[in-house]
């Protein structure tokens, strides 16, 4: 089986599992899966950037842009459907990154990280001081339908859950296809040696710009889904700790497969909720220790566990 087909089948199997598991899961678990898929989307965008050789400490900017766009669309313009809102969130993030990308695409390494951090902190500062958008408290977001089904009772209970699963599925398969395309393969080439990419006749800057926008779209969709799931948006979404968490998920999961960030986000959310449940005062300590353990003992990320086993059996 060709690798892209294997990945697509893997994602399809994951989608099927999520669909079958839905009736068995209690409300808190549904919520946990939605939140991890949303974070996985943002982290998948970072995977693309990391493959391009860039680490952004400001993905919270696009995450918040998507969430706020979805929230404003619901509250001000009466856009009711969740699927449309997720799309709007992605579009909002794309338009922000299309402008900022003009500047960001010229930066590399730690300077790229710091400039993206600065941009996200600017948005945080703006949101905190915007009374129209609820300042530090943010505002509530009440989604009414998803794919035309009313949210709440009966099948509507799984509305946002289904939306998150479908968006993650589509995004995962599309991102995998993109990374295997000629254009996508330029990403690792840019990371390895930009000058040689230019000698080949490709534009490193354009590759970086495009990947920035794609990563922003993923983060924006993730932000919109989070806004729908939580029912609330606040400026914390643009704060550096949110961006830092995405970087963490991306690096800890590993960048070998597009599926890794989704799985990593799910594991991290599970760990967080169990740590929060059993060690409410020291859950950050548990998270930090787990992260250190992964960095020290699994240098290629959590996904490398699967790879090592596959190599051993072959």
């Amino acid at each position: 089986m060709s690798p892209p087909r294997r990945t697509a089948l893997g994602f399809l199997a994951a989608l099927g599992t999520l669909a079958l598991a839905a009736p068995l899961l209690p409300q808190w678990a549904l919520f946990l899966v939605v939140v991890s898929l949303a974070k996985g989307l943002a982290a998948a965008g970072l995977l693309l950037l990391i493959r391009t050789g860039l680490v952004s400490f400001g993905q919270g900017l696009y995450f918040a842009a998507g969430a706020y766009a979805a929230g404003v669309a619901v509250n001000q313009f009466g856009v009711a459907d969740g699927a449309l809102l997720a799309l709007l969130g992605a579009l909002a993030a794309v338009s922000v990154s299309a402008v900022l990308g003009l500047l960001l695409a010229r930066y590399r390494a730690i300077f790229f990280a710091m400039l993206s951090l600065a941009f996200s902190m600017i948005l945080y500062g703006l949101l905190v001081k915007s009374p129209l958008l609820g300042s530090t408290d943010g505002f509530n977001v009440a989604v009414k339908t998803v794919f035309g089904v009313a949210v709440g009772r009966g099948p509507g209970r799984y509305g946002v859950y289904g939306l998150a699963a479908v968006v993650a599925f589509v995004a995962g398969v599309a991102l995998d296809r993109y990374l295997r395309s000629n254009l996508g393969r330029l990403a690792p080439a840019v990371r390895d040696n930009e000058l040689r990419v230019e000698y080949m006749g490709a534009s490193a800057k354009n590759v970086v710009y495009l990947n920035l926008v794609v990563a922003a779209a993923l983060a924006g969709a993730g932000g919109a889904i989070t806004a729908l799931a939580v029912g609330h948006v606040d400026p914390e979404m643009a704060y550096w700790t949110t961006s830092g968490e995405f970087v963490f998920v991306a690096i800890l999961s590993g960048t070998a497969s597009v599926a890794a960030p989704f799985l990593g986000a799910l594991l991290l959310e599970l760990l967080r909720s169990f740590a929060y449940e059993h060690a409410p005062n020291t859950w950050q300590l548990v998270m930090g220790a787990a992260m250190l353990a992964v960095i020290l003992f699994l240098p290629d990320g959590i996904w490398s566990v699967f790879r090592a086993r596959r190599r051993a059996t072959q």
């Binding site: 400039l115 963490f248 005062n281 240098p299």
Partner: protein, 298 residues
Amino acid sequence: MSIAVAVLVDGLIYASWLFIIAAGLTIIYGVMRILNMAHGSFYALGAYAAASLAGGWLRAGYAPLGSYAMLALSALLVGVVVGPAIERGLLRFTYGRDEVVLVLVTYALFLILEDVVKLVWGVESYFVSEPYGLLGNVEFGPLSYPVYSGLLVLAALAVGVALRFGIYGTRYGKLLLAVIHDREVSATLGINVNRIYLVTFTLGTTLAAAGGALTAPTVSVVPGMGVEVIVLAFAVVVIGGLGSMPGAALGALTVGLVRSAAVHLFPQVELFSIYVVMALVLSFRPRGLFVAAEARKI
């Protein structure tokens, strides 16, 4: 007129505080290439240690002036206990990994230390305001400033002069510069790079803790006080140029003045004015004000 003076004086005080912290961050980055996210935690540890030591000193009824010595002692204590423990116990196993991975290691450390602080000191807030008011106020035209703030400015100046002399005027400083320039060649020449790393990290930790200890009398010491400090210190060192000591000083002055101007003139933009300046500086000088551009490596 009095607003201009207020902006200048407040900016200078804020800049002094920032410089002490940012100097530690930039020296750690310059020598070890670690962008230390745990710096905010060291700052918080310094503040808590100061609250406990100086508070204990005052409660025991010793001479109130001694509380200043306690502030200095707590910074030193945090530096020489926490710094080497983390460098030897954790960081040395990660040298040679990617810069971003090192950032994540310190981020994990930051999460751990946040909770360690809560475990040791609990979640209630601490106050040691006595050293702040002890020296009285000084009149500045219509404005009145506590002498303690002047002390802060002096401390920042002392740190700057000491670092300048230590790096450019001593034998050890020359070794440090050699390691900054090229770690591997320095090691081949017989410089004990491990010890330089240990000393650097301890020094950086002490400076962060000193920033915290000096702040402790002016604020209530609460959990989570380190979070904001990290990004602020990042902004300072990025504006000046990562790893540059004069850069840290200039960055601190820039951020200090911009913030105090924003506070006095346009309070709405206070929070993000600093990051606007950071983005502007990076747009025109990507490596910061004090670091020369490097040729692209093929």
